[in-house]
Amino acid sequence: MSMIQPDDLVGQTGTVVRSHPVKKILKNPMGLASVVVLLFMVVLAVLANVLAPFDPNFADIGKTLSPGDAVNILGTDSVGRDVWSRLVFGARTTLLSALLCAGVAIAIGLPSGLIAGYYGGKFDGVSNWLVNVLMSLPGIIVLLTVRAAVGPSVWISMVAFGILMAPGYFRLTRTAVQSVRNELYVDAARVAGLSDATILSRHIFSVVRAPIIIQTAVICGVAIAIQSGLEFLGLGDPSVATWGVMLNEGFKNIYLSPVLLVWPVLAIGLTIGALVLLGNAIRDALEDAEKIKAPKRGSNTAQAELATTRHRPERTISATVESGTEHHLVKVSHLGVGYPQADGSIKKVVDDVSFHVDRGEVLGIVGESGSGKSQTAFSILGLLPDNARIVAGSIQFDGKFTVAPTEDRVSQARLSEFRGKRISYIPQEPMSNLDPAFTIGYQLVTPMVRVLKISKAEARQRALKLLDDVGIRFPQKTFDAYPHEVSGGMAQRVLIAGAISCEPDLIIADEPTTALDVTVQADVLDLIRDLQKRLGVGVILVTHNFGVVADLCDRVAVMQNGRLVEDGDVREVLRNPKDPYTQKLLGSMLEGKEPMTMLVSAGMTAAEAAVRDDESDEKELAQ
């Protein structure tokens, strides 16, 4: 198909679009509703003096339990107090007491959590012990005791409740601080000689800010609920107008005037609900990824523009591949991969990539981070993230499409026929790709039993043989070991054994040696080379290291910013690179360079060279 593209659409296009947390909260209907409710309550509380026609305790004995009229818009209670005025002043008392409770909890929990998390040691031990004691106390009994000892006061009971809530903040802060205590930027601050107080306030406090805000929204809701509950039971201070006291009053007169109960219940319910929802909305805004509706391939919006500029001919889904290409093990044609963004645009990470791999051949895909090499490999494996879309091109495996030309997702059903059986994968991080909960033997045997339909005993024999094949000296010992008991190089051998266990035709290795030490890397490369020769499989090797390419590959493809800039025979590309980017990469290799000489900044200062490098990067990205 013809690919006539304007310059500005070549390569990786589009930018990552993120929205501000506050905007995200307001865009979330749940968040918006809770903000509106809370703002309303705050306005009531702040303007209580203006909004309330009467003093909350002003009683008109001549007018009790009256329904609403022009003077008392919500009516009066059993001693003739204005319900509206009490509701408005109650908002002030209730909200202030909730803030007092949260304030006390933060004042105790936050600093102690910071200190315990940062220093650990004795303070940590003692405060943990105290927190455990506090948490084991039954809250309501403590509050009743406090009330019995010091009398009915909203404020004192809320201070007591705040102390009971402090352990929540303590634990939250302590855990967050422990996770950043050993971050490198904290080390850098220590080397700079910053005092501990400065390190805590400047570098560590920022990580606990968000969780504290979320926790506080919830704690305020809980405080209102507990306080109202106490007052409802008649344990509050009857001389102060709060929603809880009104609830108690309404309940006493439920048969005479049921509507008295409605207003405080509404106020309490709405406020607590809004606080909890707000907590959720903040968490969603800060932590979760945005939900983005992805336009269908070839549908309207930005996608349509892309489609028209690409001059893609109308095609119907065809199950047959182009004739003459069936013999290729894998053929990727004009592949494009993109991620839909919040504003409807698509960020393209792979653009117009074509290559093929035959049986018994090793193809290297080389590129720097962000060049789209792993995304290309993952689209062959069907392991792209859920929100990724194939925006152009097709992939065929052994003469059948795994991604047909007009599909926008990798067909998992079609691919699961191949994956694990005919296509296998060697990952970059050997340790994180073995499940720590199961023995290595179990993780090798299970797939073989499922895929090859052999008995467990037979699979076990095979697994031991495979471990021997990949150069593990004591197969039985490794078979019985858990992943944490073996070294990184050993774990990578195990994963290679797993990759060849079901006799695949194609192995995709994504930076298989990057996480390993150089000496171990050399051993693993030897292993991959031997196995590839012996089994005659096709291999796609994704790497950033030209040395690894030279060691293993027959052909090499160089990727930059989502595009394939050069491909060909490995000797040809490494010795006579045509593309300026390949030349630049090979020029950056240190092997064979005169030590202590400038690599890229001949005839200028290193700073100037750095500026120029940034500019060329930006130009490439802008393209």
Binding site: V191, H203, F546, L599
Partner: protein, 296 residues
């Protein structure tokens, strides 16, 4: 400036001397033997000199850098900086040391506080030393210039920069107080090849301009050879070989260094095939030597 100038650092007394250094980390549990990370380390660095420290993961090379910075517990031995023993320096002493002794860490993503602007990150060490805000601001602009970042970087956050640019910010932070020694802990291993070249050039340029010394920790023998005057090879918490860059990286004496040298692949299929053969022969020879050593 010719290569000959930089290859001959100033003679004279050592800037840093580490003698008989042991580092042990206590393990949890009653009367358990502590974990020994470093054993009997002896190194020295002269003003304007780079000592490359190479070894595999877990060999203790990072721990040595951290011990010099006061971030690892010194069990025995001494670390002398400009004639003063700093093995057990207090926080106050560290603060004044911070002027002369700085660090660039491996990971440019976690070594900069994500919530601080570049300007604040760079002025932090200056403010600790009590510099006036106006003077500090001027110095920060100079620093950005020195590492080739635009001056509008001041009000931006670390996440707006690429890995290489962040590492240059980290270098600028280390340079802020014009230190005499910078401990560089794998400063280029998280970077892409072409970015690595830019950052290595920057390290060399800074050394030429300011005469700073580096303790340059890396797992990559090619990087260490390129930037170092002398090289020390670490293996299992000990230094197994130490000498000039030329000698250690061309004609290594210790079996481990020999293996390390032949293990790193070269970007040409035929030369790499030869290197692979050499490596297999070396391994075979070493195995034989070990066997005969064991039987003898």
């Amino acid at each position: 400036m010719s290569a000959a100038d930089v290859n001959t650092p100033a003679a004279g007394p050592d800037l840093l001397t580490v003698a008989g250094l042991d580092v042990e980390y206590p393990l949890k549990g009653f009367r358990r033997k502590p974990f020994r990370a470093l054993t009997d380390i002896n190194i020295n660095i002269k003003p304007g000199e780079t000592l490359g420290l190479v070894g595999e993961s877990g060999s203790g090379k990072t721990t040595l850098g951290r011990a010099v910075l006061g971030l690892a517990p010194v069990t025995s031995g001494t670390i002398t900086f400009e004639g003063n023993d700093i093995s057990h320096a207090s926080r106050g002493e560290r603060r004044s040391l911070g002027k002369d002794l700085q660090v660039v860490f491996q990971d440019p993503y976690t070594s900069l506080n994500p919530s601080l602007q570049i300007g604040d990150i760079l002025s932090e060490p200056l403010r600790v030393q009590g510099q006036e805000p106006a003077v500090a601001r001027k110095r920060v602009k100079e620093l950005l210039d020195q590492v080739g970042l635009p001056s509008d970087a001041l009000n931006r956050l670390p996440r707006e920069f690429s890995g290489g640019q962040r590492q240059r910010v980290a270098i600028a932070r280390a340079l802020a107080l014009s230190p005499k020694l910078i401990v560089c802990d794998e400063p280029v291993s998280a970077l892409d090849l072409s970015t690595q070249a830019v950052v290595l050039d920057l390290f060399l340029q800074i050394q030429r301009d300011t005469g700073v010394s580096y303790l340059f920790v890396s797992h990559d023998l090619d990087v260490v050879r390129h930037i170092s005057h002398r090289v020390a090879v670490m293996y299992h918490g000990e230094i197994v070989e130490q000498g000039t860059s030329e000698q250690v990286t061309r004609e290594p004496r210790h079996p481990y260094t020999q293996r390390l040298l032949l293990a790193s692949p070269v970007p040409d299929p035929d030369r790499q095939a030869k290197r692979r053969n050499d490596r297999h022969e070396l391994l075979e020879a070493q195995r034989k030597a070990e066997m005969s050593g064991a039987t003898a």
